[in-house]
């Protein structure tokens, strides 16, 4: 464990730690552009120059391992500061001054550094015409990635990402010297399954995402730590949202699962979180759905549950551990119903963790492992059809998207026999024909934990309560229907998370042990009674970093 001094702060770090990370631990910021904690160190940008006492030349913060007794000067060294300013001048010599129209503005390392370290004092000696790459300013290099080569600072993070992480080696340098530019290796489309990460690692606005660029300024977005619902790997994400609209998912660092990466499939699920077809509870009124109040709905559903001759519950591996536990306790233990958790085998997906190992997705759901851990029966499509077959009693469907089979005509035929209560968010045939429909919100308005296929129990937080309808034109612009600027995204709906409805039902049914006020309480109860969750505490749960601002996050992602 080498002990060193950085700008007068003493710090002890693990052997092999470089000076950038050591300085971070000491509370000193060494600027960097090309360095990335999960990519190979190349020392290309030269901005991380520091002075080490006793060494005649300046050293690179990224490439110098911390050594015992080292005395490092970052801000205290006039020589290093001058060198960094010179590198900044070199970088800005040809970088366009188009921050106002650049979508990276606000989360751009170059802009941050230029503003924070140099303030308004920066001057350039550049009197020449800037280098440009005509024809490369607005170029789609793949299905998702837009390139503006003029802004590129040649840090090679994107190239290293495709070589070391996604292993497609899709991106490369072409040409030489100051004409060097980034291109796909053979000029073909950049259709890497993790292509979005190239835009994450890009420190400037040279690579941006076609789907999210110019949708919302970075400083408007609030980031809520969450877990990707795309598959069972459980990548840690931030939900970036503003005014009850989810704009994007960005990866959140977790060395054990997704390092700082996210696959394109998961990343672009963000948009689907905005869909909210059902805003208030509905009942069937002579074959037509009619809105109802929650009080009326809860009483009616409780009455149905009390009077049911038989009870079948289709739970879902998309539900959180708390919701699955509540459903099992309420419907299984107290009401003696049968519960099945359908699990669909999804597309093969994979993710590379911080050690460079590939994790493979086993299921298409974020919480199939949680359902198994709670001892619930997991069934495939065929098992689900057997489960639904026969019996004219009460059927509860907690999530119509639990399995594609539920949308099939056969499932609808089977469900037509009895009474159904469906919890749903997106338009679904099963929900439309339900006796009672109770609206649930998306992941962004829920709170709880998922169990990843690696066994990690990870918390996701609520980004915003009370989701509403999202009025948006196809191109993402604001709808002309929007009533006012102050509330551009429509009136808030009454969708309530499943755990809340389940505990309210427990209250209606007089089961006091399950009448709980928050997912934290449900989790505490679960940790007490369930072997698989024993010893875990809600507060100390892994995967949920303290809320960071998008700016801080960008320095890692």
């Amino acid at each position: 464990m080498p002990k060193l001094t950085i700008d007068g702060h003493e710090v002890e770090v693990a052997a092999g730690t470089n000076l950038i990370e050591a300085a971070r631990a000491a509370g000193v910021a060494i600027p960097y552009f090309c360095y990335h904690p999960y990519l190979k160190v190349v020392g290309q940008c030269r901005i991380c120059m520091v002075e080490i006492a006793g060494q005649p030349r300046l050293a690179l913060g990224c490439a110098t391992p911390a050594a015992d007794g080292m005395v490092v000067k970052v801000e205290d060294s006039e020589r290093a500061r001058e060198a960094r300013e010179a590198v900044m001048e070199f970088l800005l010599a040809n970088h366009p001054l188009d921050c106002p129209v650049c979508d990276q503005a606000g989360e751009c390392l170059l802009q941050d550094h230029s503003m924070s370290e140099q303030g308004a004092k920066f001057t350039t000696h550049m009197a020449e015409t800037r280098r440009t790459f005509p024809g490369y300013e607005r170029r789609l290099i793949g299905p998702h990635v837009m390139q503006n080569q003029n802004r590129c600072i040649h840090c090679s993070r994107c190239i290293r990402f495709t070589r070391e992480i996604s292993e497609t080696a899709a991106l490369t340098y072409k040409s030489r010297g100051n004409s060097t530019f980034i291109d796909t290796f053979d000029g073909s489309s950049f259709d890497d399954p993790m292509s979005g990460c190239a835009t994450d690692v890009c420190p400037v606005g040279a690579l941006t995402l076609r789907e999210t660029r110019f949708r919302k300024r970075a400083w408007k977005l609030r980031s809520t730590p969450s877990v990707c619902p795309g598959c069972s790997i459980g990548c840690n994400i931030f939900i970036d949202h503003h005014e009850r609209v989810v704009y994007r998912f960005t990866p959140r660092e977790n060395p054990a699962i997704n390092a700082t990466w996210l696959c394109d499939y998961g990343r672009f699920l963000a948009e689907s979180l905005n869909e909210q077809a059902y805003l208030a509870p509905q009942r069937q009124d002579h074959g037509h759905p009619a809105p109802a109040a929650w009080g009326e709905a809860l009483a009616a559903v409780a009455a149905l549950l009390r009077g049911a001759a038989s009870l079948r519950v289709v739970a879902s591996a998309n539900m959180s551990n708390e919701e699955l536990f509540l459903a099992r306790e309420l419907f299984g233990r107290h009401l003696k119903g049968e519960i099945a958790v359908p699990v669909a085998a999804g597309e093969p997906r994979r993710m590379k963790n911080g050690k460079g190992e590939w994790l493979l997705a086993k299921d298409a759901h974020p919480n199939a492992a949680g359902a198994r851990r709670l001892g619930l029966d997991t069934v495939d499509g065929e098992g689900l059809s057997r489960f639904l077959y026969g019996g004219a009693g009460l059927t509860l469907i907690l999530d119509p998207e639990a399995h594609p089979f539920l949308a099939s005509p056969e499932a609808l035929r089977l469900l037509r026999v009895g009474t159904t209560v469906v919890w749903a968010r997106r338009s679904h045939p099963v929900a439309d024909g339900a006796t009672w429909l109770l609206p649930t919100p998306s992941l962004a308005s829920d709170e709880g934990t998922f169990t990843s296929s690696t066994g990690a129990v990870q918390r996701f937080a609520e980004a915003f309560a009370a989701p509403g309808t999202v009025h948006r034109t196809a191109t993402g612009g604001m709808s002309p229907d929007c009533p006012t600027i102050a509330l551009p995204w429509g009136a808030p709906g009454e969708a309530r998370p499943l755990w809340l409805v389940l505990s309210a039902l427990a209250r209606e049914l007089g089961i006091e042990t399950l009448d709980l006020a928050s997912p934290a309480e449900v989790f505490t109860l679960m940790a007490r009674s369930e072997k698989g969750f024993a010893g875990l505490s809600w507060e100390a749960l892994g995967g949920l970093a303290p809320q960071e601002s998008f700016r801080e996050r960008q320095h890692v992602g």
């Binding site: 070199f90 005509p134 340098y173 100051n178």
Partner: protein, 437 residues
């Protein structure tokens, strides 16, 4: 001095192995095999041979950095990527005496226990690559290369690898990347190639001329070699003289002769009886020396004292008709073209210098230009870049600006304002390039 490295120049059929053997060729190789690797390394260390590629690093010391107990292969690479402007000495050695190089490669490989050696030759040297390949075949037929060389139990294969024409691939780590089939980007050091080199294995990289000296050191002894030149700057050196002299060419002289002797006696003086103005002492990447500094000794230490470097020994001579701003511009053009584009100061700085000097040449200089040039050069050299190309363009340009500042000032005084910029009219790239904005 009797010629050593160029002794075969001018002889009939000088390239043939029979000629080489007749002159005592491959005796050093036989002797080295009998001596053993450590004794060979010691002999070369004792000779005080310093690398002829430009940096002047002691060769024996370089060899001794290779870990002795490293399992698995190690490599020797002979750097024949002679691309420095004004340098054409290695070509001369290969042209007249390729077996000298091959024997040197063999002895060096034996000293570091490498069973595979590469000769990385500049892409444009098609003819000389062929000469080397033919010579390797000859040597192999005589049993000097291949399996169990001369019954010693030592195996050695030499491969000639042609570059693709990039100056940067003469930088040793970029050269290794190039042999590995990658883009010629210099590597971040440490680790140095002696520990992690070609294909991740310990590797020694030596210049053609350095390796050509080795057989002579082994045959004639370290003391003989150390007796040529000055202490710490020993042995014969090839000086390629070009530019405004009467007899340009390659001259073999002991280290430590003065540049005056090289230019005036051997190269026949400045053309047409004109006056010497300045010269590059060691290729265009060395700081320029003025006519007043012509008595500097041509060796590593004396050049360092004169704040320049011997480099590759390529002397480029300018007479008094030469415009030094144009020289700087020419140099800047070369290095801006050859910068690999990897690290910031060199990529941006070389191009920026070129732009400023182009503007000066076009008659639109600004009063701040000389200082801007000095500032760019200051922050692109002295460890600011991954490889020495940053220094290679900074040092000559800053030395020209410092030593011939009056010429810059004269141009700036006569400058006209820059004409208003015309914004480029971009061709309509078609609907494909811009869809989905």
């Amino acid at each position: 001095m009797e010629p050593v490295l160029l002794r075969a120049r001018g002889a009939a059929d000088s390239r043939a192995i029979t000629t080489y053997l007749g002159a005592g060729g491959y005796e050093g190789w036989k002797k080295a095999l009998a001596m053993g690797p450590d004794a060979v390394t010691k002999e070369v260390s004792d000779s005080e041979l310093r690398g002829r590629g430009g940096a002047g690093f002691p060769t024996g010391r370089k060899w001794s950095f290779v870990p002795k107990d490293h399992p698995g292969p190690r490599y020797l690479v002979c750097n024949a990527d002679e691309s420095e402007p004004g340098t054409f000495k290695d070509r001369e050695i290969i042209e007249y005496d390729p077996h000298q190089v091959i024997e040197g490669v063999a002895i060096a490989s034996f000293a570091i226990k490498a069973n595979t050696a590469y000769i990385y030759i500049r892409g444009e040297f098609v003819r000389w690559a062929k000469i080397l390949e033919e010579a390797i075949v000859e040597a192999r037929q005589r049993g000097f290369l291949g399996k169990n060389v001369l019954g010693s139990g030592f195996d050695l294969d030499i491969w000639v690898h042609r570059g693709a024409g990039a100056y940067i691939c003469g930088e040793e780590t970029a050269l290794l990347e190039s042999i590995e089939g990658k883009r010629g980007f210099p590597r971040l050091k440490p680790p140095f190639p002696a520990l992690v080199g070609l294909f991740g294995k310990p590797t020694v990289i030596n210049n053609v001329e350095t390796l050509a000296c080795v057989p002579h050191i082994i045959t004639r002894g370290a003391a003989w070699f150390a007796g040529i030149g000055r202490p710490k700057n020993t042995g014969p050196k090839l000086f390629g003289v070009s530019g405004h002299v009467n007899r340009p060419g390659v001259y073999e002289l002991p280290l430590g002769v003065t540049f005056r002797e090289i230019i005036e006696e051997h190269a026949g003086g400045v053309r047409g009886g004109r006056k010497l103005k300045a010269f590059f002492p060691g290729g265009s990447s060395a700081p320029v020396l003025t006519a007043a500094e012509v008595d500097v000794k041509a060796d590593f230490d004396a050049c360092a004292e004169a704040k320049t470097m011997l480099g590759s020994g390529g002397i480029i001579v300018f007479d008094d008709t030469v415009d030094m701003v144009e020289v700087a511009d020419n140099v800047a053009h070369f290095y801006a073209h050859e910068s690999c584009g990897q690290c910031t100061p060199c990529r941006e700085g070389s191009d920026w210098c070129m732009d400023i000097l182009d503007r000066l040449m076009a008659g639109h200089g600004l009063p701040a230009d000389p200082d801007t040039l000095l500032r760019i050069c200051r922050f692109a050299s002295g460890g600011m870049t991954i490889c020495p190309l940053g220094d290679a363009f900074s040092l000559p340009i800053s030395s020209i600006v410092t030593k011939f500042r009056d010429e810059f000032e004269r141009r700036i005084a006569a400058a006209t304002p820059l004409p208003p910029r015309k914004l480029p009219v971009l061709p309509w790239a078609g609907p494909k390039a811009g869809f989905g904005i």
